[in-house]
């Protein structure tokens, strides 16, 4: 059944973002505001960085504002001006990435001004940007959302929104894959990875892929085959999944941007599930200095050593 989700509060949120951004910039409290602006295609949105209060009117929020803007705070994005404090528009799911980046000493909380969005959900990449937000057109990540009103932020528009309802699409799909034999599962991923063209959109939008030089870009020595062929594709996707295990904040950007529709977040969700089962660890909203895969504890599960 297709049920409409009420997003009428998004216009109030838009007004609140604009006035807060204008206030911050004119008072000189921040040097830039990273947010969303409307784009040419009907209903579409794109990230924008503004530095003048006059541009605050360009900011908005809609169900098409799906990007995790935290990527613009990382050292991988050197084009964003870094001078003093920066304000950023964040949904709750984006906030988890910021917590992770603070935990990894990539950001300092005091350098950020967080404009939190109470969010009823955003659109799936399969829906056109002018689609109505419904329980079908909503992004899969929204169905994983535990707290749609960001906590611990510096400013939140005073509105009430409904929290996304519905059962996790990832849980169902992971269960389906887990029931497969290893050969069937291998066939599934092999077919998916065969579509990969090594455009690295998944890497470039990921807030945690901030390595100065990705292992997969190295050629002295060449660690991973660079061509979009089975061996290099598999190597890249395994490197990606493992490097993000225990770090991935679940924003689903990798999957959203894949031009070949490879269900990348499935790998990340599966890794998160393993981490939960093995170490009782979850990426949360609190910065954590060390995840289970880069720390050692005598109580760690050793059962894999046989």
């Amino acid at each position: 059944m297709n049920q409409t989700i009420d997003t009428s509060a998004y216009s109030v949120i838009t007004d609140a973002i604009r006035s807060e951004a204008a206030r911050l910039l004119s008072a000189g409290e921040v040097s830039a505001v990273i947010g969303y602006a409307a784009a040419r295609r009907k209903g579409s949105a794109q990230p924008i960085v503004i530095t003048a209060a006059d541009d605050a009117a360009r900011l908005f929020f809609s169900p098409a504002c799906v990007n995790n803007l935290a990527v613009y705070l990382t050292k991988a994005k050197k084009d964003v001006p870094r001078k003093g404090k920066i304000a950023i528009v964040v949904k709750s799911c984006d906030l988890r990435a910021i917590a992770g980046l603070i935990g990894e000493s990539q950001l300092k909380r005091e350098d950020l001004y967080l404009i939190g969005i109470p969010c009823a959900g955003v659109l799936a990449s399969t829906a056109s940007p002018d689609s109505e937000l419904t329980n079908n057109s909503i992004a899969s990540k929204c169905l994983e959302c535990e707290n749609n009103v960001p906590q611990g932020v510096d400013f939140t528009p005073a509105v009430k929104v409904s929290s996304p309802q519905g059962s996790s699409r990832y849980t169902a799909e992971i269960a389906r894959l887990e029931q497969m034999s290893p050969a069937e599962r291998w066939a599934f991923w092999k077919e998916q990875f065969s579509k990969c063209i090594k455009c690295y959109a998944c890497r470039q939008v990921c807030p945690f892929c901030y390595c100065e030089q990705c292992l997969c870009d190295r050629n002295k020595p060449q660690m991973v085959d660079t061509t979009p062929r089975p061996s290099g594709n598999l190597a890249w996707h395994i490197v990606r999944a493992i490097h993000l295990a225990g770090r991935c904040a679940g924003c689903g950007e990798c999957e959203r941007v894949c031009p070949m529709d490879i269900p990348l977040n499935l790998l990340n969700r599966k890794m998160a599930k393993e981490l939960k089962e093995l170490y009782d660890y979850e990426c949360g909203f609190e910065p954590q200095e060390k995840g289970p895969l880069n720390s050692y504890d005598e109580k760690d599960d050793q059962s894999f050593i046989k």
Binding site: S44, P47, D79
Partner: protein
């Protein structure tokens, strides 16, 4: 010359070609995504949507071997891949924006260096274009001087008709030769009306004005403004029917391996990274500027053509909503 072909006869035509050992490449589903690829039966053809990647890969594959090497002691054997081994092919169901890009690519691949990998596939391939009856607001072929029923690049061109079947226009000798292989499947032109043409999302852009502005604005604040959001992936170039940059790498071991050619993209930081460590395009705006300059200025300077056919793929897939149609329209209004 104009003919009529029924849907059933069109399927028969494709199946007959496959049975005769010809390679037929058409839009088909691959793990849930529509892509151009070889089909083994006409029932695999999927014409519902524009394939996610363009038809350029029929001539310029995502990745291909160009030679293999083997070393045994002092003995080194190198064997080239011979373009003679490429099969006779038919590329079917090609949208006008994809077909139009093929002659645009001819220019660069037959310029100072004759790329036999591209040219031999091109020589051996017959292109059957298909008129569009639907478009979305990312489509902008009309803004680039093309149209949803443009014959450019097609050897045969099909226009869907009211009541089923296709008007089939013969656009080249290759197209004529293809019809001659099965003349019984084609009928005299039908009186039926074509289905209404698709209406793309944007009207004509004055590309001369765009070129003029680009001639004078290598340095402009516009590049920073557009590209501050660019995350530097290669998605736009890889789905583009006209982008044609590639990289060549050796993969394997000291003892044996292959030299491979694969798609590259000017959005990658490494694209212009020199061995010295210097990078003349050190920031994303310089890389994005190159994308626009190459498409609307450099290619025009060199070959008198535009390196964009308005398919809208880059607009649909850009992770951060960069809209080349909006950018070019904006530039056209600046000069």
């Amino acid at each position: 010359m104009q003919k009529f072909i029924s849907e059933q006869n069109l399927k028969t035509l494709l199946d007959q070609m496959i049975q005769a050992g010809k390679r037929v490449i058409a839009p088909r589903l691959e793990a849930g995504t529509t892509l151009y690829g070889p089909i083994s039966t006409s029932s695999q053809v999927c014409l519902d949507e524009l394939p996610r990647r363009s038809a350029k890969e029929a001539f310029f594959p995502v990745c291909e071997d160009i030679l293999s090497y083997k070393k045994d002691g002092q003995q080194l054997d190198v064997s080239d891949v011979s373009p003679n081994s490429f099969p006779e092919s038919t590329l079917f169901g090609v949208r006008p924006c994809d077909a139009a890009a093929i002659p645009v690519l001819d220019a660069v691949f037959s310029w100072d260096y004759k790329d036999q990998f591209f040219l031999e596939r091109r020589r051996k391939t017959t292109v059957i274009g298909l008129g569009c009856t639907k478009a979305d607001d990312a489509c902008f072929c009309t803004a680039i001087g093309l149209s949803p029923d443009d014959r450019k690049g097609s050897d045969l061109f099909l226009i869907p008709l009211e009541g089923g079947g296709y008007q089939c226009d013969v656009c080249s000798e290759k197209g004529e030769a293809l019809i001659a292989t099965a003349p019984e499947l084609f009928e005299a032109p039908s009186q039926a009306q074509p289905l209404p043409k698709a209406v793309p999302g944007m009207d004509n852009i004055d590309l001369k004005k765009v070129k003029k502005w680009l001639d004078e604005n290598f340095e402009s604040p516009l590049w920073d403004e557009i590209a501050v959001r660019c995350v530097g992936c290669g998605a736009c170039a890889f789905v583009c029917p006209a982008c044609h940059c590639f990289d060549i790498v050796d993969e394997g071991t000291e003892k044996q391996g292959k030299r491979r050619k694969s798609w590259d993209a000017c959005g990658f930081w490494k694209f212009t990274h020199h061995a010295s460590g210097h990078n003349p395009r050190d920031m994303q705006p310089k890389r994005y500027r190159n994308r626009i300059m190459h498409k609307f200025k450099y290619y025009d300077d060199k070959f008198g053509q535009t390196l964009c056919t308005g398919c809208g793929r880059c607009i649909r897939i850009c992770p951060v909503g960069i809209d080349i149609a909006a950018i070019v329209e904006d530039i056209s209004q600046r000069s």
